[in-house]
Amino acid sequence: MKRIIALLMENQSGALSRVVGLFSQRGYNIESLIVAPTDDPSLSRLTMTTEGDEKVVEQITKQLNKLIDVVKVVDLSEEEFVGRELLLVKLRATDDAKKKIKELGGEIVFESEELINTLFVGSSEEVDIFLSTLSKDEILEIARSGLSGVSSNEKLLTI
């Protein structure tokens, strides 16, 4: 089962490698990972998608909590949350492609005679659909951010 884990960690060198290293050391998978500083510049927020049953995820969160640089960990997928991915696609500038992008709710953020860069934001499933609807021949390159998220209740991942 897919799980979305979000954490706050010290925004300093070495912190990210400890988090990522933990996953390989303990044999856990990372499907996607997204990280950036928060409004408090001393902290970074990291969101990762992983796969595992309840026991595995419990171990992952406990082991993450043990890392000295990790300040707080939550399993977003335990409750209601909003998760979004950002997708950038570079594709051949054809009329058909432009039409599809428009229908699918994508935004064209760059356009030349040959190329289009389009932006799409949505849940992972919506991103999948967006991509699969575009023709494979049209797509030249994609960049997916991986899932970021916040819970949809009063619980805050802040300090």
Partner: protein, 582 residues
């Protein structure tokens, strides 16, 4: 107080003094020369020059295990740092507070493949509790303060401080202030157990009719032996200790069942399998204990007290997990039990004790093997441990290496006190015993310190015999010499049709007596059982000499009991032909 201007190196030495460090183990090199110069210019911290950095970390580790204070190590960059890795991994697996301070190449050279450069922070990352790269001299006091705090609190563990050479350079000085307090927002270890969980635990304890206390290294680390003993005594519960936990409960006490697990006693393993309640304290249900987790003690309720939340329900699901320190939680539990159990009657455990004594009588260890001289004159390894126990009156600090000798020592030397038994339980590091014994001897100069080893293990850090001469460390090396990598050979006997692949050395073993003598020590070789007692007596009587007692033992002997893989804890080999199942 006037503020002093100190260099990074001087600040390091002063910070160590502030932390109460009296002893550092290490080996100098290019990147740590500034640090060694600052060491030279002060008198508060003594340095022990080892012969290999692995020995330095094991020695610091042995020191920490024996006296409870953190062990400190200096190594240089590159090979100095990588040689420390096995020691770090050893300390990490057994949760020992060790602080390794490594020199690093100058900051502007990091990443350029410069001479003796290794990414120590990266290489050590999976085997340390935490690590610091000092980027400015000014950061050193705070880093040292944090490092000691992290290493010694919560679940203890090793910490690395990597110091680039420019940061320790004497030409730059700053105003030295040592922080009085440390506050790490992301690190607040919990000591006290949740009161609701303590109450639940007490209820289960009072209800049980077939209980067992299973305790591990956490009780020793947290100085909770007294509380453990009090709990066991007030309830009349049987106690078994893990390999790491031996000595936490008096080994000669009648409620003690011996060690449990892979080579645990018959009664300890049977009790774990048949009990209705396990009270686990400072132990982590590792695979050498549980055997097959799906078949582990299926009919028992389980209480698990541990400082590390990640240890709870990691391998075995427990009914009452309690996060907290062993000492605090035991005190809470004792108080709760005293409050509840004014009429507790331990006689309800009589049938259980009767069963336990029956197990002990039927297949318990024979602790009187010295009374039965072997017919072929060959000394049995168990007899050597029994002789050591007898002649040291049970008072020696015993370190060990890894293999059959380690198991024999754990089984046959009764440890009555915590910190008396020092071995690499988690990582199983051959080469640990001798340098660890150096650390113990330096912590307790007047104590009898014995290193029980084998001719395989001892050769992994044998260079430290030279260190022992330099600092006059009168360690007693008890070498159970079976001319083979005994535990490997035992497994090859049992599971590989007796094919002894690379577990013997032909005729290549050194003459250990001459070898010891060449290092300025005393060597004694014993081959016949009739000479064992006198040799052991002589060995222990030479108080100011390191003695290498090379005992040729029966090379065919195996360690039993031994759990059968993939089965429950009651499935044991009792000797070469007898098994408890089928």
């Amino acid at each position: 107080m006037a503020i002093e201007k100190l260099s990074g190196s001087e600040a390091l030495m002063r910070s160590l003094k502030e932390e109460g460090v009296e002893l550092v183990f290490g080996y100098p090199g290019g990147a740590s020369l500034h640090i060694y110069d600052a060491l030279f210019n002060q008198e508060d911290v003594e340095h022990i020059l080892v012969r290999h950095e692995q020995g330095a970390v094991h020695a610091a580790d042995g020191y920490a295990r024996a006296c409870g204070k953190p062990g400190v190590v200096f190594v240089t960059s590159g090979p100095g740092a990588t040689n420390a890795i096995t020691g770090l991994a050893t300390a990490y697996m057994d949760s020992i507070p060790v602080i390794v301070i490594s020199g690093q190449v100058k900051a502007h050279l990091i990443g350029t493949d410069s001479f003796q450069e290794t990414d120590m922070i990266g290489v050590s990352r999976p085997i340390v509790k935490h690590s610091f790269l000092a980027q400015r001299a000014e950061d050193i006091p705070e880093i040292v303060k944090k490092a000691f705090h992290i290493a010694t609190t919560g679940r203890p563990g090793p910490v690395v401080i990597d110091i680039p050479k420019n940061v320790s350079d004497p030409s730059y000085t700053f105003n030295f202030i040592y922080p009085e307090e440390v506050d790490i927002r992301s690190y607040k270890p919990v000591k006290e157990g949740h009161s609701g969980q303590i109450r639940k635990a007490a209820k289960l304890i009072l209800k049980s009719e077939k209980p067992v206390i299973y305790s591990g290294g956490g009780v020793i680390q947290d100085e909770a032996s007294e509380e453990l003993t009090k709990l066991a005594k007030m309830l009349n519960f049987p106690v078994t200790n893990t390999l790491m936990g031996l000595g936490a409960y008096p080994g000669t006490d009648k409620q003690f069942l011996g060690m449990l697990g892979m080579h645990g006693t018959y009664q300890a393993n049977m009790v774990m399998h048949e009990c209705d309640l396990i009270v686990a304290i400072g132990a982590r249900f590792d695979d050498r204990i549980t055997n097959e987790p799906n078949k582990f003690s299926l009919n028992s309720k389980k209480i698990h007290i541990d400082i590390d939340p990640a240890s709870l329900s990691k391998i075995i699901d427990v009914d009452v997990p309690v996060v907290g320190s062993a000492k605090t939680c035991l005190n809470q539990l004792i108080k709760e039990l005293e409050r509840r159990a004014t009429d507790y009657d331990s006689s309800k455990l009589d049938p259980w004790w009767k069963q336990i004594e029956a197990w002990r009588d039927s297949h318990g260890l024979n602790h009187s093997m010295l009374d039965t001289p072997p017919k072929n004159g060959k000394i049995l390894p168990q007899q050597v441990i029994q002789s050591l126990y007898k002649e040291s009156k049970g008072k020696a600090y015993v370190t060990s290496d890894v293999g059959q000798h380690q198991m024999f020592a754990a089984q046959y030397y009764h440890f009555d006190n915590p910190r008396q038994w020092i071995n690499s339980g988690g990582l199983g590091t051959m080469g640990f015993g001798l340098p660890a014994a150096m650390g113990v001897q330096l912590a307790f100069p007047d104590a009898d310190v014995a290193c029980v080893t084998g001719e395989g293990s001892i050769q992994m850090c044998i260079q430290e015999l030279s260190t022992c001469l330099q600092y006059g460390l009168p360690i007693k090396i008890i070498n159970l010499n079976n001319s083979a990598l005994g535990m490997v050979k035992q497994w090859q006997d049992m599971q590989y049709g007796g094919r002894h692949s690379q577990s013997t050395y032909g005729e290549s073993l050194p003459d250990f007596v001459k070898l010891s003598e060449s290092y300025g020590h005393v060597g004694i070789k014993v081959e016949d059982f009739s000479d064992l007692e006198a040799a052991m007596k002589e060995c222990l009587s030479l108080k100011d000499k390191l003695v290498f007692l090379d005992v040729v033992v029966d090379e065919k002997e195996h360690v039993y009991p031994m759990l059968e893989a993939g089965m429950e804890m009651s499935a044991m080999w009792l000797d070469k032909d007898k098994k408890t199942w089928e």
